[in-house]
């Protein structure tokens, strides 16, 4: 990977940061922060689902682990928020590696993989809803205490900036994936596992690496979520909502592309806000629209929003298209 490869992520960071500091209203700034968090979760999903062709329905398992880890460490051990962040990401990645180890060793893919990830997330959700360490059904509240070390800011633009920088880092990670042997192997596995094996690809290890990276990235989103709202409970952490938003944003934006998850998150959440406004706050309307968009995307634009741009400029078939179509029957 060369310095030039980092140009686009850098531009994205500058644009987003410019937006954050452009005098947005509090509501819009909060929306921007939320978009960044969902985009990070989706960027994590994209590594496994977009590049590796392994659709997970349970990325909540990683998101929630990140969120709980940092809050538990801060509230009960008094660890500072940055150390909590690192621990959250590492533990989330470890949960990913564990789930991946079990699932891939058993050769699960396709629907079976989706279902088992969902089951793992649900086990964690039910367990954390009753376990004392996670605060049971009441959840965990982090006391308000501004300061850089606490990752809490009186001026929320600074938190937005930090989230944006992490999004930039995830973009760079994705760029590396596109430019590295590891990424080429991961895509090869998505396209045809057997052929990849014949060319010397250690399918198990590459998948394991992918789910670990993917989980770490989504766990980071969980950490930032907990840090932003200073609260987490079983539903927020391990509930299906985040698995679904991560998947939606990645697919709608464009699987296996660098900007797909970011574009998808911004587009979906933006649209969600608009629907909520238009419908006068009827619950569920935004998700209803998301569901319809998911089906329409799969049916008509399998390459996601990113492929629209490529279609307009007449470039060759985008990669994401085959991520959906690959026949990964288990």
């Amino acid at each position: 990977m060369s310095a030039r490869d980092l140009l686009l992520p850098l531009i994205a960071v500058l644009v987003l940061a410019g937006l954050a500091f452009s005098g947005l209203s509090g509501t819009l700034l909060n929306l921007l922060i939320f978009m960044m968090i969902i985009s990070l979760a989706a960027q994590g999903w994209n590594i496994l689902g977009g590049f590796g062709g392994l659709s997970s329905f349970g990325h909540a398992a990683f998101f929630g682990t990140g969120a709980y880890t940092t809050l538990i460490l801060q509230t009960s051990l008094g660890v500072n928020a940055w150390a909590g962040l690192v621990a959250g990401v590492l533990l989330g990645a470890a949960v990913g590696a564990g789930i991946g180890f079990l699932s891939f060793r058993s050769g699960l893919k396709g629907s079976y993989f989706a279902l088992i990830t969902l089951a793992f997330a649900e086990v964690l959700r039910i367990a954390s809803n009753s376990a004392p360490i996670t605060g049971g059904a009441a959840g965990i509240l982090l006391p308000l205490d501004y300061g850089f070390l606490n990752l809490q800011f009186d001026d929320r633009r600074w938190f937005a900036l930090i989230a944006i920088l992490f999004v930039g880092a995830a973009l760079a990670l994705t760029r590396w994936l596109e430019r590295s042997r590891f990424g080429a192997y991961l895509i090869a596995i998505r396209e045809n596992e057997q052929a990849a094996q014949a060319l010397g690809v250690d399918v198990f290890r590459v998948k394991l690496g992918a789910i670990t990276l993917s989980a770490g990235c989504t766990a980071l989103a969980g950490v930032l979520y907990a840090q932003n709202y200073l609260f987490v409970d079983a539903h927020v952490a391990y509930g299906p909502w985040i698995s679904i938003e991560a998947l939606f944003a990645a697919i709608v934006g464009g699987l296996g592309t660098m900007f797909g998850p970011l574009v998808g998150a911004v587009a979906l959440l933006g649209l969600g806000e608009i629907t909520k406004m238009v419908s006068g706050g009827v619950p569920g309307v935004d998700l209803l629209v998301f569901g319809a968009i998911l089906i329409l995307t799969v049916a008509f634009v399998p390459g996601g929003l990113m492929s629209l741009r490529q279609r307009l400029t007449g470039r060759r078939r985008p990669r994401g298209e085959t991520a959906l179509r690959s026949e990964e029957g288990a």
Binding site: A184, E191, N192, A195, Q197, L199, G200, V201, T322
Partner: protein, 248 residues
């Protein structure tokens, strides 16, 4: 380079390969022929590690690799092509070949460069930027060969890479295969097209209903009455001899 001994594979009752042995000596092109459903592909799959044999051993470069998974055999220098082509459909031809080249070239740029060179060599120069899914049958066969070649193998296992090609395409590719051998790559090939087998192989094995029924230089083997019967049915050899022409 490669030897398989007493390989056996059963599929729920059917014995697809039955106590078959063969050797592919270094630097040679060895042929494996036999009627449809003889078990040739199954034998290849066991040699390359995609199927676990029920009995027998696979030895590669002097080491027993019977229990080794396919990717480790590939790293040792064993590369196979698939009879039913297995392209990375969504990737370009160049990217397809580069996956093979990555085995010994971690850098993306180098792997792509190697892919270019190999693509040109097997006659895919003008297709390098096309999606693999858009290739013709002949193109896909070439791609199988190119990808395997890109791993810089010591042994190439070619499963009917000529099937589906027209005579002029075959004429183009024969010298390529010979040139690969001349660089020191050992080749074991499954082939139905006898003209090509005669042309390329120094030694052929004949598999029929899972059993190795003959081996030797192609000309001799093709005159072997047992082989003729295996291909044409019981009593065929006698009938042909009676008709005065055993030239299969």
């Amino acid at each position: 380079m490669l030897s398989v001994d007493g390989l056996t594979k059963r599929f729920s009752g059917l014995v697809a390969v039955d106590d078959a042995s063969l050797a592919a000596p270094e630097g040679r092109i060895t042929g494996l022929i036999g009627p449809n459903g003889a078990g040739k592909t199954t034998l290849f799959a066991m040699a390359a590690g995609f199927l676990t044999p029920d009995a027998g051993t696979v030895t590669f470069a002097g080491e027993d690799v019977t229990a080794e998974p396919p990717h480790l055999r590939a790293r040792r220098g064993m590369a196979r092509t698939f009879q039913i082509v297995q392209p990375f459909a969504g990737l370009t031809v160049r990217e397809n070949i580069a996956v093979g080249a990555h085995l010994h070239h971690p850098s993306r740029a180098e792997a792509m460069e190697r892919a270019d060179a190999i693509g040109k060599r097997v006659g895919l120069a003008k297709d390098l930027d096309r999606a693999a899914a858009g290739l013709t049958v002949a193109g896909r066969k070439r791609l199988e060969l190119a990808r395997a070649l890109a791993t810089q193998p010591k042994l190439l296992l070619l499963d009917e890479v000529l099937a589906g090609l027209n005579p002029s395409e075959i004429r183009d590719i024969l010298p390529v295969i010979r040139a690969i051998r001349d660089e020191g790559v050992t080749i074991l090939m499954i082939e139905h097209i006898m003209q090509a087998v005669m042309n390329l192989c120094e030694h052929v094995y004949v598999l029929a209903q899972g059993k190795m029924i003959a081996e030797g230089p192609p000309i001799e083997v093709s005159r072997d009455p047992q082989v003729v019967e295996a291909y044409l049915g019981h009593g065929a050899a006698a009938r042909m001899q009676a008709a005065g022409g055993a030239d299969a």
